[in-house]
């Protein structure tokens, strides 16, 4: 596959330490487009080895607005079914620029390891030095070891190592969309982390037309009212949750976005530093970055102050545990009790949706109504399809439920321009139907 691709699929067998590379066939892209369409294909191909398939969307890391997302496809320890977990922040694009479109991790290692994926090279490395450390210590340790503060990681903490049902794969230091207990799957394979870094070049078939259309779509997006807003509290307000902005505002530091995502979906709060400080903080760990609006709301509904909710989210991110599961199952309403509950957490979490896509993304349109009538079944079907399409093309999932200008037609057009393949609505409909069945 020559365009919008590294043309490489990596298959790593943790049991034998064998690493193989294969080319990404253009025919597979013509049939499955990319992202979840292809990770599902690879998952089924390697099913007997309980695979974790990491991938990127066809548009990931391009000038298509919000082309930030990668994904992890695997069998969820929570649902027992195949799921697709978005890879956000800047981790999703780093997968592609590190040299691979898709990475299949199969088998079980006999000792703790991490995978170091860099500039088209993959290594299985000894993780004994970070096994037992929390997510933040481990990410710090790998970045220091590699001498690169921009190393992007997927990391488990103690929850994953201890095979908690609610263990979450974290990205760099932060919580992730993993509602599926994939941290437990990493832990059961003795896979502590994946670390990505690369300076690859992604070729585009008709680059001038691709960039021209990207900028036209961006121009349309910028007429949207949500472009005057920023951050996670405004998302909560748009979901109909009153009082979140006033509650959170006193500790908000800044808002930031995933790669080329026009709305800043992430909000950093400072807990041990003046939130109004603009100079670099001298405090090593002044706060936490929040991307999980539903977990934040769940802690608020337990009666926590915004500061304690931030501290709970920070503790969850360090431990590598799903904060939404903690809020739902701990039965506690004080910060100390919540943090002390991590080890003994038990029960069944409520996962909204059909279980294929992460309900970390709000299950309703945000800021725009997308022409929906308000019927619950219609909204659920719309959300499932919207997530499927986002995971095929590599679009930031929350942005996909707020931005009608990022239409299927526009994504298909960019994909066709970028690859010179005849990617039609019929093909997309078929891939989506396969993901939703």
């Amino acid at each position: 596959m020559e365009y919008l691709s590294t043309d490489k699929i990596l298959v790593i067998d943790l049991a034998t330490s064998k690493i193989e590379e294969t080319a990404l066939d253009e025919s597979l892209v013509s049939e499955k487009i990319g992202g979840a369409g292809i990770t599902k294909h690879l998952y089924e191909k390697h099913l007997n080895d309980d695979p974790i398939v990491i991938g990127t969307g066809l548009l990931t890391g391009t000038t298509c607005p919000a082309s930030a997302s990668g994904l992890i496809t695997a069998k969820s320890p929570v649902t027992g079914k195949m799921c697709h977990c978005p890879v956000i922040y800047k981790v999703g694009i780093e997968i592609k620029f590190s040299g691979y479109d898709y990475i299949v991790v199969k088998g079980v290692s006999d000792k703790p390891v991490y995978l170091w994926i860099h500039d088209g090279v993959a290594d299985i490395s000894d993780a004994s030095g970070i096994w037992g450390k929390d997510v933040w210590e481990s990410t710090d340790s790998l970045r220091k070891f590699m001498g690169d503060d921009l190393l992007q990681t997927m990391m488990i903490g103690k929850a994953g190592e201890n095979r908690s049902d609610y263990a979450q794969i974290c990205y760099n230091y932060w919580s992730s969309p993993d509602r599926f207990g994939l941290g437990k799957l990493f832990g059961s394979k003795k896979l502590k982390a994946l670390a990505f870094r690369g300076m690859g070049l992604i070729e585009v078939a008709d680059h001038e037309n691709f960039v021209r259309r990207s900028l036209e779509i961006l121009k349309e997006i910028k007429t949207n009212d949500f472009m005057t807003k920023k951050g996670i509290a405004e998302i909560a307000s748009a979901m109909g949750e009153a009082g979140v902005e006033e509650w959170l505002e006193p500790i908000v530091h800044r808002h930031s976005a995933d790669y080329f995502t026009p709305y800043a979906t992430n909000t950093a709060v400072f807990l041990d530093e003046d939130p109004k400080r603009v100079e670099e903080s001298k405090v090593a760990e002044p706060g936490v970055l929040i991307s999980d609006v539903l977990a934040l709301l769940a802690f608020k509904k337990l009666g926590l102050s915004a500061e304690d909710a931030g501290r709970a989210l920070k503790a969850c991110a360090k431990y590598g545990i799903d904060p939404a599961a903690v809020a739902e199952l701990s039965g506690k309403s004080s910060l100390k009790e919540i943090v002390d509950s991590f080890d003994g957490l038990s029960g069944t979490v409520t996962l909204k949706g059909k279980g294929s896509f992460s309900p970390w993304c709000p299950l309703k349109p945000i800021f725009n109504d997308f022409g929906l009538s308000g019927d619950a079944a219609e909204a659920e079907a719309w959300w499932e399809r919207r997530q499927a399409v986002a995971m095929i093309f590599g679009i930031q999932p929350i942005f996909s439920v707020m931005c009608p200008e990022l239409s299927e037609e526009n994504m298909l057009e960019l994909a066709a321009i970028g690859t010179e393949l005849d990617l039609t609505q019929e093909i997309l409909d078929r891939v989506v139907a396969d993901l939703l069945k």
Binding site: T62, F97, H207, R254
Partner: protein, 118 residues
């Protein structure tokens, strides 16, 4: 005329970096960009934008603009990022002189209009 950056408006999305490198490489990469979002202080939530011009390295920090003449000794009180050092090997900003339809690509692509011409 040069590039002006409002670091407090910046949302750390890296689109400018991609667009700048595209202008050099006609493909998607970050390798050749003369404008980069510096984001190495992730836990401190400290980010801004760095741009290399022909003679100057400009650092748009949240607290204000810092201009360094290339070749002069760096301020020993400022912590440097190893990942930013390759900037000095890259070509300086040419305001995308060959991009007639758009002007500077970093301005055209910034979703929050944090980058303008001065």
């Amino acid at each position: 005329m040069g590039i002006k950056i409002d670091a407090l408006k910046c949302i750390n999305c890296m689109a400018c970096e991609m667009a700048c490198s595209y202008h050099r490489d006609d493909g998607f990469a970050f390798l050749s960009a003369c404008i980069v979002v510096y984001r190495a202080r992730e836990k401190q939530d400290y980010f801004g934008v760095l741009i290399k011009e022909e003679e100057f390295l400009k650092v748009a920090r949240p607290e204000g603009l810092e201009v360094n003449r290339i070749g002069e000794a760096a301020d020993p009180n400022k912590k440097a990022d190893a990942s930013v050092k390759p900037m000095l090997l890259r070509e300086g900003c040419d305001l995308c002189e060959d991009m007639d339809d758009y002007g500077p690509m970093c301005i055209a692509i910034c979703p929050v209009d944090a980058i303008t011409l001065e």
